[in-house]
Amino acid sequence: MLRRDFVRLIAASPFAARFQTSSPLPRLRAVSAYQSAPAPGMPGPYPGRVVAVRSDTCVDTSTGAANDDVVREMMARGMRSLTGARTTRDAWRRFFTPSDIVGLKVNCGGYPHCVSAYEIVAEIVRQLTALGIPETQIYVYERFQNQMDEVNYAPHLPPGVQIVAAERANRNVDNAGYDPAVYLEADLFGEDDTRSNMMRLVSQRLTKIINIPNMKDHGATGVTGCLKNIAYGSFSNVARTHQNGKSHTYSIVGALASIEPLRSRTVLQIMDGLRGVWHGGPFARTTKYVFYPKQIMFGTDPVAIDRLLLDIIEKERRAHGAISIWDRSPASLKVDDGRARDADPNVNIIIREPGHVEFAATLGLGTYDRARIKVQNLTV
């Protein structure tokens, strides 16, 4: 078979050097035969627009348990406000039709205290099936099966919903779940395996994707929100981008998110901020750094939502006297010393790259300028 690829070199924008002064951006080569949709899902029909729905009663902070009824009302209000639809059903209909095969990109890395909430995932499935989408055409997905097993969405969802992962665990031996024809190639640290391949589920099966990140701090990217969840959660071999104190996530996160068909098919962003992690992310093995933003954000623009997330995590860190997510001081850096990082919120193990959000904007994924982001705040 002869294949004609669309090969794209992802260039750095002129202002990229403002943030990453330690080294030039790596040369990135995106390979995909998929063309962009006329109106790609990111930034979608609502660029620069975010609906934030808050509720004091959405989660019991003494137990961490969410209130299902309140979450459902938050979801309904958020979707109606985002779309301007009169009914909740109409709001979902703006994005999906019964023939769609829909992926729900959840985040399981923060198990047990901060993962994509069962209540939110279940409500999304309820709304999709109400539109006539069969359960078997709904896929809840992550990269690693062992994480999915830990979180265990199945008891919260109707039978028939597919719960799938590309790899059994993060061991770099299961490649069959990835598409060999769609990848980002980059030699970052002299690693032998220079490719990160898109999940076959994304490139070959799904027609639409709903991204359900959490509000979390991240040791390599500063925060992990919409962009990081959809990018690093849909491609293989991404842990290679950050090591020995250095992170190439500044450009790689946005570059991955912009590769087709992921960019076109990711049509809705629902950021789960019932719970959050202000340090030590993306993990939350203990509640030490868990906090409760008590909100859900809705939009189609991942950059705009992540721009708000930067401020949320930064504000929470400041409240605890922790160093900024923008801190690049060598004095704060203890390379690869996870124990020190977990013990002390003033320790970085890698120089973080929160600038990845702004870089993604330069790739056309959304609006970064805070002054141009319109936030609609609602309370339930």
């Binding site: 004609r4 061991r171 031996v173 490649n175 069959a176 060999p180 395996d193 391949n197």
Partner: protein
């Protein structure tokens, strides 16, 4: 043609009972204990954790002996193997054509017997090695470690007595281009050579694993690619890129048998395909086609 398999023999302490176990597993080429002492001992192949480098993002350290056999192809070797390593050592010795004795744990008799049966069943094919660069071997430890790291990175090389016009790159440690001080960091040194060669010009590349080492033989008509998996876990969907145009073929995989290659693509002067499942060892035979 000469069968590489004939270079094997196996030893396991324990007397006639163990010999019977080996025989039951189909292992009949038994070494005499006295034969082992005169052989050069090889480290146990596999991967090992490195101190202070425990992060899951780290590339595992591979103990592999192919470079030693390339350096001294006429030597006789012995592997002294703990349980679980016999099949991997046999694969390594076979791929590089080493005259090797395998001193094994009796519990490995079955696995080794299966490997020997697999090797015996491979289509006979004796082709010259394929190399992208040359190394002038001065016999030093430094040059040895550079060859180790080149092999580890699947940078195919051939040892030459002096710089050869056949190769765009000839590495001679101590030359102005390749100072001995630089070679003191063999990993960085191998990376420098990789950059000089460029990834596009490499005859073989591996995607989807950092624990597979290739041995490539071929001529103007065909290639035989040996894939040795040092990682200890089966790999699904290993992606291979070969420079040049090759028709789709099959992989002969230990424990699996003949597997059709998947997602075969010829484009931009190279051929790519996936091996559906790689256990410890596989051999892929490919016929060259018009570009």
């Amino acid at each position: 043609m000469k069968s590489l398999l004939l270079l094997f023999c196996v030893y396991s302490a324990g007397g006639s009972e163990v010999t019977a176990t080996l025989a039951a597993a189909g292992i009949t080429r038994i070494c005499a204990e006295a034969d082992l002492a005169s052989r050069e001992s090889l480290p146990v192949p596999g991967i090992t954790a490195r101190a202070n480098l425990a992060s899951p993002t780290r590339i595992p350290w591979i103990v592999a002996n192919g470079w030693r056999v390339i350096r001294n192809p006429k030597s006789k070797y012995v592997y002294e193997l703990p349980a679980g390593k016999a099949a991997l050592a046999a694969a390594e010795a076979h791929a590089y054509g080493a005259d090797a004795a395998l001193k094994i744990d009796p519990s490995d008799a079955g696995a080794l017997g299966a490997m020997l049966t697999f090797l015996e069943g491979l289509p006979a094919l004796d082709l010259p090695i394929v190399a992208d660069l040359a190394v002038v071997d001065d016999g030093s430890a430094v040059t040895g470690e550079v060859m180790n790291l080149l092999a580890r990175r699947n940078l195919l090389y051939q040892i030459v007595p002096a710089p050869s016009p056949r190769f765009r790159i000839t590495v001679a440690i101590g030359s102005p281009q390749y100072p001995r001080e630089e070679a003191a960091d063999p990993s960085a040194f191998a990376l420098k050579i990789r950059r000089q060669l460029t990834d596009d010009q490499r005859t073989v590349r591996v995607f989807g694993s950092e624990t597979v080492i290739c041995r490539l033989t071929g001529d103007e008509r065909q290639l035989r690619l040996h894939l040795i998996n040092y990682g200890g876990r089966d790999i699904e969907g290993l992606r291979i890129r070969l420079r040049g145009s090759y028709a789709s073929g099959a992989a002969h995989v230990l424990g699996v048998g003949r597997q059709e290659l998947q997602d075969h693509v010829v484009a931009s002067g190279s051929t790519e395909f996936s091996v559906p499942r790689l256990t410890t060892y596989a051999v892929v035979d490919l016929a060259r086609t018009a570009p």
